[in-house]
């Protein structure tokens, strides 16, 4: 059973970032993310990255928590690096000549076959293993020249490519770290309340902010309940002989359906009963209501916001006056 006190990424610690008002953190994060996209100088981006690391240190949250969000994006990062590296022309840094011969083609195929059959033995990090093997196959083509040559080609890495890929990667990493900093230091419910307060003016253009935030808060409330429920249904179906781990694609589909159908039916009934309970306790959608959660700007919030806004204006000012930042 899931006994996590709070759903989501939130990591409890006592730091100035935890104590900040959620509105400050949301606004600050948005402004910083916009600034990051304005920056285009490698040195400045490295500086921003360094500053983010300092922020992380001051949040008293172990760095491994941040690695989790980075891990999910590794594939995207790798693809970006490869594309930027090879598709930006300019000054040549290094050039590699590849020769595809019968010998290294055979070795390459052998490696792929071995990789395929190692499925049962090596189960973890298979994607990275695959990448490593792919790189190795290309490396072979530069070294092993024996056998009948089938094709000759060359790839070059350019200085611009290297710079651009570094910039892009650092920018994405900084962006991920900054946004994880928000979700790690703020409870989901607080983020929701902060969003609601910030979006309040939107009601004048007809957006039903209170209903939207009620929906999010109910979703947050029921996610752990539904996870527990899914776990129970999985066990119940497993006890009736459904095997969720093995099976061909079509069998997997039926297995998923055997989970989804009861989940859907139960959630529907839940929603019905919850609506009754809410109505009986006097909830009228979009009616005026007060709130138990108190958000209060303190000196530290004003200071933080002031700093972020000054930083942002400085970046804009430098951009406008044609500095290469």
């Amino acid at each position: 059973m899931n006994t996590n006190p709070v759903f989501g990424q939130y990591y409890h610690a006592d730091s100035w970032l935890h104590r900040l008002d959620p509105r400050t953190k949301i606004l600050g994060t948005i402004i910083i993310i916009i600034s990051l996209f304005l920056l285009n100088n490698l040195a400045v981006i490295v500086g921003a990255f360094g500053a983010t690391l300092v922020l992380i240190l001051s949040s008293k949250i172990p760095f491994t928590k941040f690695l989790r969000s980075l891990k999910m994006m590794t594939t995207l990062l790798l693809i970006t690096v490869v594309f930027q590296l090879f598709f930006n022309r300019g000054k040549i840094l290094a050039e590699f000549d590849f020769t595809l011969t019968t010998v290294n083609l055979a070795i390459g195929i052998a490696i792929l076959v071995l990789f395929f059959f190692s499925r049962k033995i090596i189960t973890k990090h298979r994607f990275f293993l695959f990448l490593a093997l792919l790189v190795f196959c290309f490396y072979l083509q530069t070294v092993v020249k024996s056998g009948k040559a089938l094709a000759n080609y060359s790839l070059a890495i350019y200085e611009e490519g290297l710079y651009t890929s570094l910039k892009v990667v650092l920018r994405i990493i900084t962006l991920l770290l900054i946004s994880s900093l928000l979700t790690l230091t703020t409870k989901p419910a607080d983020i929701n309340t902060g969003m609601e307060r910030l979006a309040k003016p939107l009601k004048y253009i007809g957006v039903k902010v209170s209903i939207l935030s009620m929906m999010i808060s109910i979703a947050l409330r029921f996610i752990p309940t539904l996870i527990n429920e899914a776990g129970r249904i999985l066990k119940a179906q497993a006890s009736r002989g459904v095997d969720f781990k093995e099976g061909k694609f079509m069998q997997k589909v039926t297995q998923i359906i055997s989970l989804l159908v009861p989940m859907f039916v139960i959630s529907y009934r839940r929603a019905y009963e919850l609506a009754d309970a809410m109505e009986a306790r006097g909830y009228v959608p979009d009616a005026e209501r007060t709130s138990i959660s108190l958000l209060k700007y303190r000196a530290r919030d004003y200071l933080t916001l002031l700093f972020v806004i000054l930083l942002f204006s400085a970046i804009i000012a430098l951009k406008v006056s044609d500095y290469a930042i």
Binding site: N2, T3, N4, P5, V6, P188, A189, S217, I218, L220, R221, P224, T225, N228, R269, R270, E273, L274, D276, A277, M278, E279, A280, R281, G282, Y283, V284, A287, E288, R289, T290, S291, I292, S293, L294
Partner: protein
């Protein structure tokens, strides 16, 4: 005070789930509505809190008629605890959940904090205010639901099978809170368990949408045939009396042995 006059309701055209029900419940009374599945007891509760709209007939709460115009206002007079503890927990924490009914009625924050403090104490949940529902037992969640209703101070509280999904400990905890409220609030308890009805001032037995018995518990429990006809079990002590009465006609030890054998086999 609750007054129901000639109330009828049907979900679809045809069968009436509630069939011309008329009943009066006095202020401060503890009334139990007994009935088997499908007898209309929960539907009656939903009609009383204005979640369903009656086809015909009237409901008066404190002398005021319940209709579309008055329902928002009259909901402040009546609260309902539902069966499933999970599906009536709206807040992310206990504090938020107790506050929900108060937020809807635009209480100022200081007042809310005071009321939450007062009523969480009343149901013995004051130490759990920051807890999330996943970390509470069914009985604890039901107590939070009761506190959430008491906080906005209604005169009438309906317990709609509020203990039927709880473990014995949870049932005991909820019943303790219920007995504390006795006399202070009008309590309408809905159940299919006769043993839960013993303590109440009056028992209404429902069958096919009609109230077929309406009397003090002692008298209702004596109507064994009617209870059986409404597919309700009779009280354990009544069963014992029935058995003792059956032994009256026995002449000797042999016959008693036979009788006891039959009883055992019938089980």
């Amino acid at each position: 005070m609750v007054e129901v006059k000639n109330l009828s309701f049907s979900y679809r055209k045809g069968t009436r789930v509630i069939d011309s029900v008329s009943v009066k419940i006095e202020k401060g009374e503890f009334v139990t509505i007994l009935g088997h599945n499908g007898s209309g007891k929960s539907t009656l509760a939903k009609l009383l809190v204005g979640l369903l709209k009656a086809d015909s007939g009237e409901i008066y709460l404190d002398g005021r008629i319940l209709n579309e115009d008055t329902v928002d206002e009259l909901r402040g007079k009546i609260g309902i605890v539902f069966q499933n503890p999970d599906n009536q927990f709206v807040g992310v924490t206990v504090r938020d959940d107790i506050a929900f009914g108060l937020e809807n009625r635009c209480y100022p924050r200081e007042e809310m904090l005071r009321l939450i403090d007062e009523y969480s104490r009343l149901v013995n949940m004051e130490k759990f205010l920051e807890y999330n529902p996943e970390n509470l037992s069914g009985g604890e969640k039901q107590r939070v639901a009761i506190a959430g209703i008491l906080a906005y101070n209604p005169d009438i509280i309906i317990f709609d099978e509020a203990t039927s999904m709880l473990d014995p400990k949870g049932v005991r905890e909820v019943n303790e809170v219920m007995s504390q409220l006795r006399g202070k609030k009008t309590i309408i308890q809905i159940t299919h368990n006769l043993n839960e009805a013993i303590a109440s001032d009056r028992v209404l037995v429902m069958k096919d949408g009609k109230i077929i018995l309406n009397d003090v518990p002692e008298k209702v429990f004596r109507e064994k045939e009617t209870l059986k006809a409404s597919r309700l079990d009779i009280l354990d002590c009544m069963k014992l009396i029935e058995m003792i009465e059956a032994t009256q006609g026995l002449k000797n030890k042999k016959e008693l042995e036979e009788f006891l054998w039959e009883l055992t086999f019938r089980k």
